[in-house]
Symmetry: C2
């Protein structure tokens, strides 16, 4: 039974997820870093252990019955969801405060039945993972209660992972995330001033200057963003305007699989094993009521779906929490040069 | 030589601090948690080791010469500052991007010559630490290049501390932090609607409901905020409107010392040793040019200085980075009840 509460001082919703409740005696020791080694018998995401997870909602399955071995990619509801699917938002006031019921969806995409990490999977398998993201996002978008669907990945304990088996997560949210709204506001202001997409202007400048370019192919560009918040942060963008990841073409997904694998392998060459977060942002859902498209009617014109990759090398501390600004000890141009020069094998 | 770069997609400045540069081979292993044990000989903040730090800018010093033993609280410039004092902001465009020189101030307040932590210092010593914050903030505010002064504390490695000796940091920034601007926007909207301070409405509701109150005395209130982003998060607020911490009275600082010690001791009772961040927010500086007071003329009427205390029990992961929203597994009312019942000795 989770709920959403609005922080009135920051105009920001927080998810209070009691199902995941942490009693004081359960407080995790921050000293643990490594995920416990999981043998194939107890790994809930390994082939043969399908009975440990909720029933699959989608699978790429050359062989076998649903919820049995024979799959190569498998999407399941999260066993410990931060939001639940059943019910209504039921907005309520509470004096000066506001609440919503914790309605949404929370799924897991198991990226491989093996114990390989995402970067070590063959390109065709990474393509299948990305296409699974696309299909699950498309399906979750049909539920008109959801304002936004996001894919994210936590790899390594210091990036928040609790399972070492390679997986990503998909959440469907009843609210517009503040980070998306901030981007839309910047994009709309730029459009009103210039009649151009800010994303397109960034891509044009990056391709012209090439100082922050790490990798590119026919349709995808990988850069260290000019104002990276984290050292060795990467952003993957389609070169041609494309607002909705759910409409990505076969060619785009193929190029994206290559760009993603190249990014992760270049990190490995530069940094060794590193914990990281990946976030896939796409255009908001066009819901019936109070749609964000009424406020930002040109989303499909100026938005670009994109992937952010954050290595977790630095710690956020009092400065970051107190100001909302980040300190990055590595010049993005230097990180890009370093990563550009690392050769990787893509197959 | 640090610089500020504006992220055009989020309208947010990032500090690129090359002095603190991390080469790939220096990438910190996230596995390290405990700060290295520092013996008195090599602790740069211990009495007798004043030669290891920059010369003090302020000290409470019953005995001895400046930069020698005999002090009880000592303020020094940070040896590895994120911003430097000399120079001008020199705003420049760079295609679609924007840059500023990394101008500002970055000081360290050493809270005790001993190896005690803040919570274990006597109340009179905590009072002296708070009064040192006040005096240094006051002094830094005289520099009209600075828009905002904030105090923060990182305690424990997972909270970003790199020194185990008890200390806090003060930064003076040339820009208005986004978190402060977000609060001012919410406060101004509430004022326009209600002609009341949102902080006052929150305090009134908390004192009436008492569900989230953890501690109070004559002038200070400690609560678990309604929309806490973190489990066991605390906020310390003055009960009577007071925008500027630099104008806090002797009585307020005495009560704040007690409220702060009570908060940290209650955490210890509930959670044991815990890494945490503390942030002290006060009203912005009223600088001459383009002052924030032109945009928000009633800051002195509706703002309340306050302290935020965040225990670092949970990890921020892809969901939080991608959305800007937090997941808190502990109901704030339950955390408050638990902390309220823990008895602490205040002396």
């Amino acid at each position: 039974m989770s709920e959403l509460r609005r922080d009135p001082l920051l105009d920001r919703w927080v998810i209070i997820a009691e199902e995941r409740q942490l009693r004081p005696q359960d407080a995790p020791s921050s000293a643990e870093y490594e995920l416990p080694t999981v043998d194939a018998d107890s790994d809930p995401f390994a082939a043969g252990n399908e009975r440990y997870t909720p029933a699959e909602v989608y699978a790429i399955r050359p062989n076998g019955e649903p919820n049995s071995p024979g799959w190569t990619v498998r999407a399941i509801p999260n066993k410990y969801p931060i939001l639940r699917v059943e019910g209504d938002l039921d907005p309520r006031g509470y004096g000066v405060y506001d609440k919503l019921e914790g309605i949404g969806a929370h799924e897991v995409v198991i990226e491989t039945p093996s114990d390989l990490q995402l970067r070590d999977l063959p390109l065709s398998q990474i393509y299948d993972v990305l296409n699974t993201f696309r299909l699950r996002m498309e399906d979750l978008t049909r539920d008109k209660r959801f304002a936004y669907v996001m894919v994210f990945k936590n790899h390594g304990r210091s990036a928040g992972a609790t399972q070492s088996h390679s997986h990503s997560q998909i959440v469907a949210l009843p609210i517009m995330p503040v980070r998306v709204r901030e981007q839309l506001t910047a994009l709309q202001q730029h459009w009103q001033l210039k009649r151009r997409s800010l994303f397109q202007d960034i891509i044009d400048q990056e391709l012209r200057q090439r100082e922050r370019v790490v990798f590119e192919n026919e349709s995808m560009l990988v850069i260290c963003p000019f104002a990276s918040s984290f050292p060795f942060e990467l952003q993957i963008l389609p070169k041609r305007q494309s607002a909705d990841f759910r409409q990505a073409s076969v060619e785009e997904l193929r190029d994206l699989a290559e760009a993603l694998k190249a990014s992760l392998l270049k990190w490995k060459g530069a940094l060794g094993e590193v914990a990281y977060n990946m976030m896939l942002h796409t255009a908001p859902n066009d819901t019936r009521q109070g749609s964000i498209y009424q406020e930002f009617p040109l989303i499909d014109t100026y938005y670009f779906w994109h992937i952010e990759l954050l290595p977790r090398l630095t710690k956020t501390a009092g400065f970051e929490w107190g100001t909302g600004h980040y300190i990055n000890p590595v010049l993005p141009e230097r990180a890009a040069e370093y990563l550009r020069e690392i050769e990787v094998e893509l197959s």
